[in-house]
């Protein structure tokens, strides 16, 4: 009798644990399927809203084409000291980037998420970092006073500061784009200069595997929306409520 009771309790306990576990996985906010109707039903802001989807399954081991293309096209300086590094896009291990639910050990591209609710914009005292109508979070370098509040505000660490004059550290200068000067922050601008000329961002256009897709998140027929509807995607730290617009497909 006692033995039977013991096994019953064991089985019931196991069953309960399995049930809770399944419920936790099913309701987990780590993975999200962005249904096609979700955007159309309640677009937060009308008009164009630029976003990016990175298909990490296509991301090749040891490839740094996106990082190199960005560095080249925006005169991003190369400082050897890791504490003074200036980066618009860099590569980071999947687990460190997307949390423990992401099992990949590969290095994935990480860039400014151009959040819908950007905390860097809230922390800027001079309004020099702002959210444009098309959803791009841009820096007005003319106004930046170099207080680095945005670097503290950004939960993704995607804002860099020029501790010294960046010009001597630019290996291959491009005359098409300005440099920055000592004492201002800089970050990815979703290649707003190239978008103005009708071109795709340099990272996504230079990716040999076509892993980075860029487009209008408000347009239901855009490539980004089709990709988001077809597979589960992850975002960086979605629990913070900043609503990043860079999605990762694992």
């Amino acid at each position: 009798m006692n033995e039977e009771r013991r096994t019953f309790m064991k089985k019931a306990g196991l069953g309960l644990m399995a049930g809770f576990g399944a419920a936790a996985i099913a309701s987990s906010p780590l993975f999200e399927r962005v249904a096609a109707s979700a955007w159309a039903a309640a677009p937060k802001r009308p008009g164009t809203r630029w976003g990016m989807v990175i298909d990490t399954r296509r991301c090749r081991e040891g490839c740094s084409a996106c990082v190199d293309a960005c560095r080249l096209s925006h005169n991003v300086p190369t400082f050897s000291d890791p504490r003074r590094r200036v980066e618009w896009i860099h590569r980071e291990e999947g687990r460190a980037l997307l949390g423990s639910a992401c099992a990949t050990q590969k290095l994935l591209p990480a860039l400014c998420n151009h959040c819908e609710e950007p905390s860097c914009v809230r922390s800027c005292p001079t309004d020099s970092i702002f959210r444009r109508r098309d959803g791009i979070v841009a820096v007005d370098y003319h106004r930046c006073i170099g207080c680095r509040s945005c670097m503290l505000g950004c939960p993704y660490g995607e804002v860099s500061f020029n501790w010294s004059d960046p010009r001597p550290a630019i290996t291959e200068p491009t005359p098409d784009y300005p440099t920055r000067q000592q004492g201002v922050v800089e970050k990815c601008n979703f290649c707003s200069d190239r978008l103005k000329r009708g071109l795709q961002p340099s990272c996504s256009s230079r990716c040999p595997e076509g892993a980075m897709t860029f487009g209008d998140l408000n347009d239901p027929d855009s490539a980004v929306r089709r990709l988001l509807a077809s597979s589960d995607s992850m975002r960086r730290k979605p629990e913070l409520g900043t609503e990043p617009k860079v999605y990762y497909i694992i």
Binding site: R132, D134, I136, A138, Y141, H142, P178, T179, R180, K196
Partner: protein, 126 residues
């Protein structure tokens, strides 16, 4: 007496017309279609030469602000209807031909604007 009334009427009509002209956005028109904004018009000066001599700093400050904040929407419509993308590249489209365009005058007047700390000066180009 009637001539005075006519004068007042004419003045009021003139003021209304001027208000309507200003309200249509003579200075900064917001453009929704980026295709028309993308092509910079480099056919001629945006303002008369004398005005640019005295006021180019104000024009540049206005363009700087709008270009940085509005991107492709930053378009200036000249009084004669021509449209210019507010961008330093639009200026340099004509004015980079003379490599001394900014510098000769600024050296003479001993003013040191910091534009070229970041923007690539035409003089720095090979």
């Amino acid at each position: 007496m009637p001539s005075k009334k006519i004068l007042i009427g004419a003045a009021a009509a003139l003021m209304l017309l001027a208000a309507a002209y200003l309200a249509t956005g003579a200075e900064t028109g917001l453009v929704s279609d980026p295709a028309s904004a993308a092509a910079p018009d480099t056919t001629g000066c945006i303002y008369p030469k004398e005005y640019m001599h005295s006021h180019h700093m104000q024009v540049l400050a206005d363009w700087k602000e709008h270009a940085a904040h509005e991107g492709p929407d930053a378009v200036m419509t000249a009084p004669d209807g021509r449209r210019f993308q507010k961008d330093l590249a639009t200026c340099l489209g004509c004015h980079s031909d003379n490599r001394q365009f900014c510098f000769s005058c600024h050296t003479y007047a001993n003013v040191k604007p910091n534009c070229w700390n970041c923007h690539i000066s035409p003089q720095d180009l090979p």
